[in-house]
Symmetry: C2
Amino acid sequence: MPSYTLYYFNGRGRAEICRMLFSMSGVSYEDSRITFTDWKNYRNKMPCSCLPVLEIDGKTQIPQSMAIARYLAREFGFHGKDNVEMTKVESITDSFYDLFHDYMRLYHDRDGRLLTCLGADIRNRTSNSAMRIRYDESCQRVLPFMERLLESEGQAFFLGDQIKLCDLMCFAALENPLSENPILLDDYPRIKALRQRVASIPQIKEYLKRRDNSDF
Amino acid sequence: MPSYTLYYFNGRGRAEICRMLFSMSGVSYEDSRITFTDWKNYRNKMPCSCLPVLEIDGKTQIPQSMAIARYLAREFGFHGKDNVEMTKVESITDSFYDLFHDYMRLYHDRDGRLLTCLGADIRNRTSNSAMRIRYDESCQRVLPFMERLLESEGQAFFLGDQIKLCDLMCFAALENPLSENPILLDDYPRIKALRQRVASIPQIKEYLKRRDNSDF
């Protein structure tokens, strides 16, 4: 088993799906959290000048949160069993990522810093912005599709009775949107139930209990 | 071999990477192009109300351009040979996607329609916008990283002497940015040379020659 270090800021953000995959697998890793003050020093050392980055065996550095998540899902057995199933897992995951990405964009400035950390009044700033409209439109596009998908399959998780990357992403991607708008899933009972199933898996339950709380 | 239909608008856009993968493989597919007028009728029939969608054997419909592209890359042999190499392919591909996505966002309205189709003066509209700043920042983040990567590896393509998804994405993602700004890659000679190598592969050369020209 390789050694792993996951670099990210001190928040859930784009790294949380990776941390959940580590938790599900039971594989240990170093959860390296970089302060916004230190980011200036790290930025040029990181491939593609962005976080998260996964370091494998102290040498291979992989940027891009979802490329990392798919690597971990393949490595730990939370991906599809054949090419078509992998593609279904990934298309669901990417759809949730769209929604998540549009949400995150509401709260970042140009340098990728969270606006809350800068003391900006984020609600006033974004409530009527093009980015807010884009995010709302993504919700309207993604959530009804996911609800119908869960209805037509009628199984515990998106692709059967085994939890996969897409189920974990459904949980992770909607954490912040739900903390802002607790009734977001009231019209989507199957998505809501799926997230509860994910949260009740012992490894995830234990992880959610012990992790640090952060706004993002 | 399954039968394939690729649904998208009449443009390169988010479907072009998939068309290039089909061209490389020599596998035939129906290249179904939906007019903006017809999109209203198709929208609710498409999973996740978005395009592109890949239909496999007339039944399985897969949304999300990059999930489709990864499916085709695995199916046709343009992905990594093991998990780490797959992850490298995907992290490079996703980085180019970031840049491409930010560029596309400059030219779409809320309904995903190209602003050029609506007669809008897109250059004036976006030249000082937050989206333009975001796109420029993505270029400054992604391109130097890719140039260094090609320099350190010193091979014909990103991951050796065989063309992969990430090399095709390097070509596809930069087509529109380069048509707007022909000197974009002047400081990145290795990326420029890689794109020329991709364009000179017989299957791609033939495809580029016969495809319809479109603005996007």
